[in-house]
Symmetry: C2
Subunit: 362 residues, 2 copies
Amino acid sequence: MTKDMTTLKTAIIERFGTPCAVIDLDLVARNIVKAQERCDAVGLANRPHIKTHKSPMLANLQIKAGALGITCQKLGEAEVMANAGITDIIIATNLLGAARSGRLAALQSHLPLKVCADNTVSLSAYSKAADQAGRPMDVLIECDTGQKRAGVETPQQALALARIIRDDPYLNFAGLLFYPSLDGWPRTQLFFDNTAAGLSDLGLSAKIVSTGGTPNFAHIGSLKGATEHRAGTCIFNDRMMIKAGVATLEDCAFQVFTSVVSRSGPERGILDAGSKTLTSDSGGLDGFGMILEHPKARIHKFAEEHGFLDLSKCDHKPAIGDIVRVIPNHVCVAVNMVDQLVAVRRGEIVDVIPVAARGMLV
Amino acid sequence: MTKDMTTLKTAIIERFGTPCAVIDLDLVARNIVKAQERCDAVGLANRPHIKTHKSPMLANLQIKAGALGITCQKLGEAEVMANAGITDIIIATNLLGAARSGRLAALQSHLPLKVCADNTVSLSAYSKAADQAGRPMDVLIECDTGQKRAGVETPQQALALARIIRDDPYLNFAGLLFYPSLDGWPRTQLFFDNTAAGLSDLGLSAKIVSTGGTPNFAHIGSLKGATEHRAGTCIFNDRMMIKAGVATLEDCAFQVFTSVVSRSGPERGILDAGSKTLTSDSGGLDGFGMILEHPKARIHKFAEEHGFLDLSKCDHKPAIGDIVRVIPNHVCVAVNMVDQLVAVRRGEIVDVIPVAARGMLV
């Protein structure tokens, strides 16, 4: 460990305690530029998904670097981003709770949102909200091409919704939203081509054709007709993105600084970060995060505030009081646990960034 | 569904949107009384663990019902509870991050804390914090009898720490903290008996001998020499507690109200509650929560804001726009996702309770 890192760890624990969520602003800036370049290289607009960082400050850095606008997953996230002056926002889910609470109409009256739907119940809710807001709402149709999450399953279903949008005075047809599975790009092309032909018959065209996902950077641009890409995780990266082959350990800008607080057995230890810090989302990987100082240590289990370490494979084992840095498996859910990110640059603490849209469930 | 429940669901979604975390105050009150009675019945003091609710208001209800004091897992939780006037607090972990940040000393200067240790590094940190605070600190020795989490593994180790505490001018030996595994009670008795004999030789006695865990209500009182019990989950209960046999569905006081937002396939659906609402903590159970209206539906997967429903076994399948209630697998981590709990009583919304110690990582 370099002297600089020892100094930083001491500064972190003395100022904030542990566990502490830390981002490296130089790495964040580099990751923002890389994502922009990946979109630029294939002629797509960049619409980063802010669910990863939930910070208007970081969203504005993305826009400054060239992003056309942003993607949100919840209306509450969009509210926070709109309050910070961001105006071009897609909310990439069916919004029913937010619509019925009146919050969708309230935000739409402040700025024109782009929302998504895969069903007529959502369309009715959007129409009503747009009517209340006194401003028509842009709607993208969410199309499923393999994730089996939300999204219409056929071009025919997409076209049926497009016709309803066209005929609704409060709705504008804005385009199509895809989140292809990694092997689903040829299927997505077929879906898009068939839908585009039908849209033309309806007198419509998709101004926005959006693809999504950081792992899908591997295929970005391979959908002919796409206009933009939504990626979230790439601003920080994590073990899942390393596994997916779209990032290296050196690209991981988010770390949890955590203390070893117990070493009751020779082959085991306990971190002060558990499921209430790093979450139980394993992302399908072995262990719950990678310890930079002890890559052979395995975080094999969590209690709420305890991370259980299996140290049997470590040549050098951590001592009680050691501060170690964990790269989480899934950074988006880890960020969502904390109210603030401590920002460092070249080993110095330079800022504390609120995770302003944390816990925006609705 | 009763008319009352339809009315409540409408009130919840129109006022708060979905997903929304809801507690039933009558059930909470009943659960608080039950836990107190379980302790009273075996002559143990009740020291509820507030990590489950993180609410000073609910902690004060527990104290009003007879609890001697409370248990916290993080210093930040203790700070919130102390600010609300609670004075008898055990913090049941090795505190290193909080000690080095100065926050332990700061709180200790306001009120005498009871802290826990299983190692000499923690003891040194506590001694230094107590010195800074100008008030000696009560220390319990955490003893492991099977969880393989934190805690000394032998009576000899416990006694070695007890001697150091005895000889430290800033530390008071306060007792022993156990969290027996379900089958570990006979082992815990042996550990306690051997330790108690040794303590006597040191001129010490354990004023507090604490056992823990809601599932351990099944064995409460079976450790001769115990003085108190710490249980957290029992204030709300969840699927894990039902599985453990210490609660029924009717005892579950916490529910997430969530909307069905997509039904793209005949056998599947999507909830607007995903891993950022209910968390990926399965608690070792099948599926991620139980839907009261559709007990045969299986929440088989989460995305961050999507709950994936397998409806193949449901006779009656939910429609888009339906509001359903989910009992989580593990309520403690679900509560920790939200900033507030909507409190209802006999079907009426009566309060909004801040989860004041949410996200207290340190």
